[in-house]
Symmetry: C2
Subunit: 266 residues, 2 copies
Amino acid sequence: MTVTCAAKLEVIALPGLPVVAPGDDLAALVAASLARAELSLRDGDVLVVASKLVSRAEGRFVDLGATDPTRRAHQLAVRTGHDPRHVELILRESTDVSRAIPGVLVTRHRLGFVVANAGIDFSNAAPPPAIAARGRGPWALLLPEHPDATASRLRASLAGEGHGGALGVVISDSFGRPFRFGSVGVAVGSAGLPPLFDQRGKRDLFGRALDHTVTALADQVAGAADLVAGQADEGRGVVLVRGLRFDADDAGAATIVRPADQDVYA
Amino acid sequence: MTVTCAAKLEVIALPGLPVVAPGDDLAALVAASLARAELSLRDGDVLVVASKLVSRAEGRFVDLGATDPTRRAHQLAVRTGHDPRHVELILRESTDVSRAIPGVLVTRHRLGFVVANAGIDFSNAAPPPAIAARGRGPWALLLPEHPDATASRLRASLAGEGHGGALGVVISDSFGRPFRFGSVGVAVGSAGLPPLFDQRGKRDLFGRALDHTVTALADQVAGAADLVAGQADEGRGVVLVRGLRFDADDAGAATIVRPADQDVYA
């Protein structure tokens, strides 16, 4: 695996993406936005798609008003101060509880990563009218069902339209961190680019083997995209990161996840 | 505090920086590199300087061969499998041990953050001959002594040369994460830009208050820079991130650190 970075990287928010609705063809929306911006994909381009767009396209809306909390959800709601229905959704999306203390519910998501509130979000979670009419709300939006597979399909669709070569797709979300304030972009799904950039075997300026040998390429790409994506009314849900060089890679973002048996904070 | 991101960000590695030696004037080296690249600083520019350059300029070399481990260092060396002299250096730089298990020693650094091996590095840690002659080695390089203060001084020097306005400086390092593989860039020091970008009060596309309200701006800028900086023989230790818009901010990167009394994994 080779990853070489150009001396210059561009991070470009794609213009004019609509609010995504269930069933929308994300690849077609991305291709249209690229065309509108007069951008043709190049070797080494990575498209970073906000997980929220994927979740909306997949119809991952859940009506909190119609959610029945289990006894366990009620217990954890008391301990954390969260809404029991919210806790119920979190538990349904999780395999394990990492920490539950006042104000904090951190779980291991079924996709493997450890994250607050199972990545369930209430902002930009308003469903289209046809779905909204079916429930009381408030509505929550779950993370995409199989983000690595979706990234792979998106990549194949875009490559199929002549955007071949080393093309990467990252499905990004914002996670908090246990020891630092503020959220950062992370890759919940990826395809085409190496999620982890392994520099083992490289040498430092003095010929010594490098210490930090594996960098989280897909996460850092998601973080760079987050800098231009914003979350507010601009609606910049797809970002093009241009200037990386990498060999196409089959691994998905699931390989970034430290498995439960290597969790030193379990 | 206002931070608005342009729709496009550029991340540019500065060319031709020399290997830094103790006493070097980093601001002058950065200014010379900018001139060489024919770049004039603009409002909203952030200069990301690898912590290793700052540590080298500050002469933070330590001779492992001359380090006497305490009894506690020996105990933790047995538990972790680390070199007792390395453990000794880690403990001297730390206020607390977060996890010590085979292969892993995570501490709370005296600067506040929780990090493996107190951020002590052996790559690019070779001292200049005059220092190397004074010891046996191997040599380690400690993190900068007061990175927020150094970022602030660097910013003042560069602003003094006519690069005024909203100019940011980030001193970056690569940290591993407890729940994810691979390292990412983080800000160990910063000046001029808001380390945390607070979006509270902003609304989502549907007018609902945003969920993820605080993003770790300085960390994400460090991560974006890491994408072009590399660690190997290119020597891209200073990166210009261009295209952000922010109001000058007095807070340093220390404000990103979640204090010990809010550590849910203590």
